[in-house]
């Protein structure tokens, strides 16, 4: 296993050529499968986009894919951002803060840990591996109360740290980096660096880390998405709506929507199209990140695991 990324890309291209289905029937099967699958994944989202251009009444009465009007869209935008005098902006800011802070800590602790697990020896290595796997299988509901009590003990409940610190513990990230380092980094490269007089820290920073950039991107992306979408922990930790992240905020919006909470049919109630818009706003950061990092993602996943 000593391929560089560029070499792998070349190989990928050749592999693609050789594995393609040939002939008319093959291509039409591929086409059909792709169309059906794409429709399955995309139609609900397309509908969601269209929903933001309609009023609630139009949403119910008109056919699913009838497009509303630009005016209605801007009205919905206004309603969303006027809700509780701009709470949505605050929620997005909170989400970004929690997710990014946790992401940085995750990377700082996970990447060296994955490296150490894969390429060094120390006591408790095996047990650390097994525990990492077991903790990944532990139901979340079971962990929330103990984590809450811990945070309470150190007086952090209601503080941003009460969310950021638990977010930063990301065993899946350690597992991914572990697989990457144990399969994709040629050991003789590290040994050569050591012979050249690099210290262990230098070996990690100068040699291993640059080679690991795909998996760092991968862990960063997954951890960001997970933090961004996490609902339960912030719901338990943060009492105040000012400190909610977007996901918990969305549920506040949901409970202000009469369709889901009839008692909300009052002064500041939400409409379904506005909720649809909130949904799209809430997923935008993840989407943008995905678009920018897709190349890294595939590279990172490609690199993991399979040994030659």
């Amino acid at each position: 296993m000593s391929t560089t990324l560029a070499a792998r890309d070349a190989r990928v291209d050749r592999a693609r050529v050789t594995s393609r289905l040939t002939g008319w029937s093959g291509r039409s099967i591929i086409g059909l499968v792709l169309v059906v699958a794409t429709l399955f994944f995309i139609i609900p989202l397309a509908w969601l986009l269209i929903a933001t251009t309609k009023t609630e009444h139009e949403l119910a009465v008109r056919t699913p894919f009838a497009i509303g009007s630009w005016d209605t869209f801007t009205t919905n935008v206004r309603q969303l951002f006027d809700f509780q005098s701009g709470a949505v902006v605050q929620w997005i800011r909170n989400s970004a803060y929690y997710s990014i802070a946790a992401l940085v800590i995750t990377l700082v602790i996970s990447v060296p840990a994955g490296y150490a697990l894969a390429l060094t020896e120390f006591r408790f290595r095996r047990i650390l591996m097994v525990t990492t796997l077991v903790v990944m299988l532990m139901p979340n509901t079971a962990l929330v109360l103990p984590v809450f009590l811990e945070m309470n003990k150190v007086g952090l409940v209601g503080q941003p740290l009460s969310v950021i610190l638990p977010f930063s513990f990301y065993p899946f990230g350690v597992y991914l980096t572990y697989i990457y380092f144990s399969t994709s980094i040629p050991r003789n490269l590290l040994a050569a660096a050591r012979l050249d007089g690099c210290s262990e820290v230098q070996v990690f920073i100068r040699i291993a880390l640059p080679l690991a950039s795909p998996v760092v991107a991968l862990v960063a992306f997954f951890s960001f998405v997970q933090n961004w979408n996490n609902y339960f922990l912030p719901f338990v930790m943060l009492p105040s709506s000012d400190s909610y992240p977007m996901q918990v905020g969305l549920s506040t919006l949901l409970s202000s929507t009469p369709a889901f909470n009839p008692s909300a049919a009052g002064s500041e109630s939400m409409h379904l199209p506005t909720l649809a818009l909130a949904t799209i706003v809430s997923m935008l950061p993840v989407l943008i990140l995905f678009l920018f990092s897709q190349r890294f993602l595939v590279a990172g996943m490609t690199a993991g695991g399979v040994k030659e």
Partner: protein, 455 residues
Amino acid sequence: MNRIQPRRLVRQIGLLGVLSVTAVAVLSGCSSNGSDSSDGGRGFSEAKQDKNSTITVWVDATRVPAVKAFQKANPSIKVKTVTYDGSANGSNSFKTKMSLYDRAGKGWPDVVFSSQNNDASWATQGVAGKQPFAARLDKGLIPAGTLSGFAKGALNPCTVDGGVYCLRNDLAQTVLWYDNSLLKKFGYAVPKTWEEYQALGEKVAKEHPGYIVGSVGDTWTPEVFMWSSKCQANDVTDIRKVTVKTDSTECKRAASMLDTLVADKSLTKLSVFTPDFVKTYTGKVLLMPGPAWFAGAIFNNKESLNVPKGRLGVSAPLAWDGDSAVAGNVGGGTWFISSHSKNLANAAKFAEFVTTDDAYQVDLGPGYPAYAAAADKWVKKQESSGYYATDLSGLTAAAGLVWDGWGFPSFSQEAIWAKTITPLVSSGKSIEDNLGTWATAIKNQAKVNGYQVNE
């Protein structure tokens, strides 16, 4: 590479064990309840009071104007507002958060609004020797004169074992809503009894198919029809005791009526909040038994049925032949004061203001006020808007008619109905035949919630 020796692994596990026992000991160690507390003679032990401390109030988005009105009227009192979901729609966030604070031994807000009306059932009960969250209000915290000013039965959801533990924000008594113009056009009279209602429903099915006289698609169907028929499915007789008896005439007559009209399609199986309902029945709702808040939520709402001005009428709850008329109830929010509050005086002042003062209840409140004096003014204000085809005396009458044989246990009757009866109804099965299934489901749920079911 070198395989780890079993013995070493055991040693590692042992060490981890020691570490974790320490951890558990730290975590589970009781937090001291050391703060100075005393019995203030109000039926619970009070925290040390500080008259100048800020009070923290939790409200849902709809109740934010109430806090603003209070601040305007009392600029000297420091209030911190926290907006949360109001514990709405089964989120149970009020209960969830309080049980976490109970565990933590601190963090409680001073006043909480809940959109539900079954919170007193848990907020008055301490778990594992902890002090219950709700402060008792009728032993001096709230003046007796204020408490007696609430509509008859309005404080039932707040009353546990004779004590009052919360103030009601609004009432959600059930009435009969109707489209006055449609009734006139078809030449029908407003029914006075449930028997007339059923007969009219059957007639509508024949003469004007497609028009409806109500809906059974929502979770509050039992509260609209069974409660107002005095069906004893939810009779909370003591703090943790409930009587469930669904084989009575009272239950059967309502169930049989529902079965008939559902089969006739003059009662729709659709929830009134579904797009389908709006699409199918806009302009076709002849009658609709339902809570007071239906007016703003579905009729006078351009996103829903959007009934034009001057058409919507309201009549007092219907009676069954030979029985007195009673109303059901669907929701209506409540305000709780924390027994852990450091500023009970201001907390009480706040709760009293938001439930009784005209500045909120009459001028801003969206629902029918639970406080009788405010309700009268609120009704006048609504009538003067000219939206309704009739006066609102039906609403006022219903406010005092809510039947008290239907209790407020800690579990949700709506959820039980939704999961046991709604699927049966939608697959065309009879409610009357399944009253036993319903009772069993209620009893099961009551038992896991710690209720003793009276036989």
